[in-house]
Symmetry: C2
Amino acid sequence: MSSQRRQPGRPEATSHGEIEQAAFALFAERGFDGTTLDDIADAVGVGRRTLFRYFRSKNDIPWGQFDLTLDAFRRLLASMPEDLPLHESVHRGVMDFNDFPDDAMPAHRERMRLILTNPALQAHSMLRYAEWRDVIAEHVAWRTRGSVTDLLPRTVGHVSLALALTAYDVWLADEHAVLLEVLEESMGTLRSYLGPS
Amino acid sequence: MSSQRRQPGRPEATSHGEIEQAAFALFAERGFDGTTLDDIADAVGVGRRTLFRYFRSKNDIPWGQFDLTLDAFRRLLASMPEDLPLHESVHRGVMDFNDFPDDAMPAHRERMRLILTNPALQAHSMLRYAEWRDVIAEHVAWRTRGSVTDLLPRTVGHVSLALALTAYDVWLADEHAVLLEVLEESMGTLRSYLGPS
DNA sequence: CACAGTAGATGCACTCGGTGCCATAATGGA
DNA sequence: TCCATTATGGCACCGAGTGCATCTACTGTG
């Protein structure tokens, strides 16, 4: 790949990845709140103003390029065989979404630990979660030929997120837990909780 | 009531309620983002600094005295008969929590519309939701003689929140919807979604 | 090589939320 | 009146985020 990158204008001085790396190093050292955007800009060797061309806000840095991740998620759900029961389709989608190669897990864990631990990031995450829920809701709406504003798509979106967040809570609390197993387990827990109705 | 308020020091210049009222008026007029803390302080006739003695942040103003609300929720759950099945106990608690007198609904609706619509407030709400979930998790842990960090309490907390938020989404989108009915409905929707497994 | 075109980088000034510190005001009681 | 107590609120300051204007580095062309 990389035929030629003949772009007209000035080349980019840095990249999302570079900023992310420098930022995570600083976060690990001084904490998220203890790191200013000036710190990050200096570490990357770029102006503070430039950071905002790569990330919408400081809170977005730990999320990396989440838009791309969501695009992949969208494609993932769209690729589910249509003869699969809806709840199976969603469940598999969520499982695949959280299926990372082993060597990526440490970094993923660190990223999620940061996001789920720091109050400012916890709060901000709500906005990203809403986008994630929408992807699910759209899938459900498409499968049921309904609207994303219907009760079912919204319910499935919210509940899927609830289960995922539960799993992450437990996973982060237990050094040896396996994310996908906890995810499966939380789903089972919900079933048995509602079961005896 | 109001036996005597013989407190030693200087009397308070305002109250949570007064600030809240002035703030909501301004929010309705110029929007949440278009209202500065200076605006609110001026409207109340108090220093900007003083606002922070009543509310931890601008984002907390729309929530009123949520601590007190949570205390009531805690007592509500604790008062549930122990012979009630756990899921019933939680369900009833959530229903009662959202059972407002008719004349309080318009204000409640406006408050929730604001919180669930404005991005800054959406994000901030995550922190309040976490406290709300904890109340449920504690109840479940108490009922099951387990720990709040166990899978079940966490799952129930997250899923209960998911259903409540779903209900609020739908309720706010439909002028004529009845909150408690939508809540009940979203619960049923979840059951039927998971049912055919 | 000079010049035009293009797009990213960045400095600057400014707004606003939020905090620490501290002096001050208003009250009840001795 | 003087004191203890408690709330007020001014002041200085920090850091995130934005709009605007300018500059810079690179491509392509004559």
